[in-house]
């Protein structure tokens, strides 16, 4: 069992030391662990993590300390700089790894091995070490050396095949969605490995997460491999409005879009009655449309038309709350501005403010992740400035002198 002198359970995750060598493909994994209490040190090349040079920036003015992308993915982490291409940099890294609980990395599978700091080499000095590698296609298999970013992984997983309009090409989901599934699975694997090490047999291990595989599991409703095996069919795009649940989709109303879905016969009766109240149209009450989705499937066009005629009389918020009062799954189609103002998120303790010293950024709300609890707190520190913790780590932990640190800086190692 590990000894943490100061850990009293204020945070959900004990302060395990995690070295974060990830780019955006897996930065969310280390952030998730850091937000809930892990002691995460981001190990950046001396020029900084590449995402520091990605926008957006405040006022669109590029500045490596002001990338909003970097800020989002790196809350609650420390930052040190280290050049893994130099021998002295690698020597320092081995010392850091010898005392670390976990390393998370998203380099190509040869990068660390070629530098003599692959999992096997590091484990020789630290049998309890856990390392998670997040790569586009995994560390084994014939695509293991293939390159992939968000777009390519979204394509190769098939996720894009069912995203967008049926008569248009596949489209990317706009939140760079492929960065999340692998990061989440890596976090689960890391925590399970820590649990096993500290409350099981004491040894560490390597965890191989493929972004492609992780994203495949995120659309299991559609299950393309199963559909192919059983029926010889390929899944495809159906657009905003589903053809399986009727009606289901997003529909324009007075001031935006309302998302609505009707599944049970009771829900349809409730909706039909409401449409009738509003439009006076008797047709919607017809027995023809009553029952389950199969009963309405052949009438999808007329039902959609009836729904559109009804919805245009209301605002999004009117439809949302009155719909729910009538036991219907009506939900607003939100923009970011709506989310920031949403009373449910506010009351769920979801947002927390971070005051940035930089006035160009100011005070900004961040999402706290999904766990709300009276018994544990999440941490609330902004993403680090580049190398902010060099002195604390290299002098405070590794015992380097100020002169040695200065020499490493002068040599471009940190």
């Amino acid at each position: 069992m590990p000894r943490f002198d100061d850990y009293t359970g204020e945070n959900l995750i004990p302060p395990y030391r995690i070295l974060d060598l990830t780019d955006r493909r897996a930065a969310f994994c280390a952030r998730l662990l850091a937000d809930y209490g892990a002691d995460v040190v981001k190990v950046e090349p001396p020029g900084g993590d590449p995402s520091r040079r990605l926008g957006p920036y405040p006022a669109d003015s590029p500045n490596t300390e002001r990338s909003l992308d970097f800020m989002f993915y790196n809350t609650n982490k420390l930052s040190i700089t280290l050049d893994l291409d130099s021998e002295s940099g690698r020597a320092l890294f081995r010392r850091l790894a010898a005392d670390a609980d976990v390393i998370i990395e998203s380099y190509d599978r040869h990068y660390l091995y070629d530098r003599g700091i692959g999992f096997d080499a590091l484990r020789a000095d630290n049998p309890g070490l856990i390392m998670a590698s997040v790569t586009p296609f995994g560390c084994t298999g014939e695509w293991a050396d293939y390159r992939g970013d968000d777009l390519v992984v979204m394509a190769a997983s098939g996720y894009m095949q069912i995203t967008g309009e049926p008569d248009e090409p596949p489209v990317r989901q706009g939140n760079e969605h492929s960065h999340y599934p692998a990061a989440q699975y890596a976090a689960v694997g890391i925590l399970a490995a820590l649990y096993h090490r500290d409350f099981g047999d004491g040894t560490g291990q390597h965890i191989d997460v493929s972004s492609q595989e992780a994203l495949i599991t995120y659309y299991t409703d559609a299950h393309p491999a199963l559909l192919w095996r059983k029926l010889g069919q390929n899944v495809t795009r159906v657009g905003t409005n589903s053809t399986l649940v009727i009606p289901l989709g997003a529909y324009p109303c007075k001031d935006g879009w309302i998302a609505a879905g009707v599944i049970t016969p009771r829900e349809w009766d409730s909706l039909a009655e409401w449409i009738h109240e509003v439009t006076g149209n008797d047709e919607v009450l017809s027995e023809t449309y009553r029952g389950g989705n199969q009963d309405r499937a052949e009438h999808i066009d007329i039902i959609t038309a009836l729904f559109l005629e009804f919805a245009e009389n209301f605002t999004v918020q009117e439809l949302f709350h009155e719909g729910q009062r009538r036991n219907l799954v009506f939900l607003p189609v939100n923009e970011v501005a709506d989310l920031l103002a949403d009373p449910q998120l506010a009351e769920s303790g979801f947002w927390y403010d971070i005051e940035h010293d930089d006035p160009a950024v100011g005070t900004v709300k961040y999402p706290l992740g999904i766990f709300h609890s009276e018994e544990v707190q999440a941490r609330r520190h902004p993403a680090p400035i580049l190398g902010a913790d060099n002195a604390a780590v290299y002098q405070g932990e590794l015992g380097l002198t100020a002169d040695e640190l200065a020499a490493l800086k002068a040599g471009g190692v940190i």
């Binding site: 695509w143 995203t163 689960v188 399970a192 649990y195 409703d221 289901l248 997003a250 970011v336």
Partner: protein, 417 residues
């Protein structure tokens, strides 16, 4: 398709050996959490409550259940009517012998059944409780209903997807259910560590809504700092050009290509055998390629259109160009890459029939993925797919110590069914 087991290291013990979890709730997210915990070695007991079956027992509709192993394998499945006093008492007994209690019922529903978290804590003072709802367990929407596919609208993602003159862009699946299903095991394992180290327990509340918004990305900050809503750019990206999908030979076939810098652009030109159009000065820099992206897309499409997408992917990747086919079901099912990683595995399933006892359902053959975190030191169990109620004797008899006569009485009374 291979049937080689992922749990080839079954001799060593799994990461969550010794942990027992009660899973109480239907649909996608919570059962997925249970499946993941089970695959990591926890003993997961799925309690199915009323005589109304989880609609998910029938998915996909055309197969009546071939998709169910994805959510239910590796669990002990018992039947229990918690609307009865005896059923509620047995549920509390289950909580007493378990480390984790997790449910996705709304507060008003749990109240109706007389299941409350303080009572679970009295039964088991160190229980970890995971309480998942659609929109939130407290707050103004706590009674509201939702389901996963619509949460991509609610959480702001659909208005980031597609183009501004199009309807909100949607992926045809239960979007945020999967986020929630994979967030939750992380929270549970962390809470178990914390319990072991401090003796303290935790009730964690999660929601599908929050899971969706938590993954909106830097757009959340861009709006606050720059007052700018998310840009709907289709497949374009401010940091790469060309960046998009291009048509290939065959029906609905595409390849995605993403060129982030001039070095990759040079490699791409070489892979295309350096056509004259690609040497145009406006394409020399990324900014130039951004400005002329429409013309660039048209020229690239002319080159890709007659080609086989899979061969083209191999050619481009060999040249160092990030590219990937837009995979269809057949590509995934037959993928040599995924097969070499044992990603898909054969499994059995139970073909669900309404008004027919689950014990009389027919067994069929299906395919299921394995948990996409390969652990070198602990097995990932692929897990048996029990039918509903199949493990009643084990749980009520072996674990709770009821005699065969007592179980028979409960069955006769409709408490276990």
């Amino acid at each position: 398709m291979t049937t080689a087991p992922v749990d080839s290291q079954a001799a060593c013990f799994a990461a969550l050996t010794g942990i027992r979890v009660v899973e109480f709730g239907p649909y996608v997210a919570l059962p997925l959490t249970g499946r993941i915990l089970g695959s990591l070695g926890a003993e997961v007991i799925k309690v199915e409550t009323n005589k109304v079956l989880d609609e998910m027992a029938f998915i996909p509709a055309w197969s009546r259940g071939a998709g169910q192993p994805e959510y239910q394998r590796g669990k002990r499945r018992i039947t229990l009517d918690v609307r009865t006093d005896a059923g509620r008492d047995l549920m509390l007994e289950m909580a007493r012998i378990s480390d984790v209690f997790m449910t996705n019922f709304r507060r008003n529903v749990l109240d109706r059944w007389g299941i409350d978290f303080p009572e679970i804590r009295r039964q088991r003072p160190d229980a970890i409780i995971m309480w998942q709802t659609g929109l939130g367990g407290h707050g103004p929407y706590y009674t509201y209903k939702s389901f996963g596919i619509l949460v991509q609208h609610l959480s702001g993602v659909s208005l980031m997807t597609g183009l501004p003159d199009e309807p909100p862009g949607v992926v045809n699946t239960s979007y945020s259910d999967y986020h929630t299903g994979v967030f939750q095991p992380a929270g549970i394992i962390a809470a178990l560590m914390r319990r072991n180290l401090t003796g303290k327990t935790a009730t964690l509340e999660s929601s599908i809504f929050k899971s969706g918004v938590a993954t909106c990305g830097p757009a959340l900050l861009d709006y606050q700092v720059n007052g700018r809503g998310p840009q709907r750019r289709g497949n374009r990206d401010a940091w790469a050009a060309p960046h998009g999908v291009y048509p290939c030979a065959g029906e609905d076939r595409y390849i995605a290509i993403s060129i982030v810098d001039d070095e990759q652009w040079t490699k791409f030109r070489q892979a295309m055998d350096d056509p004259a159009w690609a040497a145009a000065p406006e394409y020399e820099t990324r900014i130039g390629r951004q400005r002329n992206h429409d013309a660039l897309d048209a020229a690239i499409s002319d080159w890709t259109r007659p080609q086989d997408s899979a061969q083209l992917m191999n050619t481009l990747q060999a040249a160092g160009v990030p590219a990937g086919i837009v995979s269809q079901g057949q590509d995934l099912h037959d993928s040599a890459h995924l097969q070499s990683r044992n990603f898909y595995q054969d499994t059995q399933y139970w073909e669900a029939e309404r008004d027919v006892k689950a014990t009389e359902w027919t067994e069929g053959e299906s395919v299921s993925w394995s948990i996409p975190a390969r652990m070198s030191g602990t097995p990932i169990a692929f897990g048996k797919y029990s039918n509903i109620g199949e493990d009643n004797a084990y749980v009520f008899g072996d674990l709770l110590g009821l005699t065969n006569e007592e179980i028979a009485e409960l069955e006769a009374a409709g408490v276990i069914y």
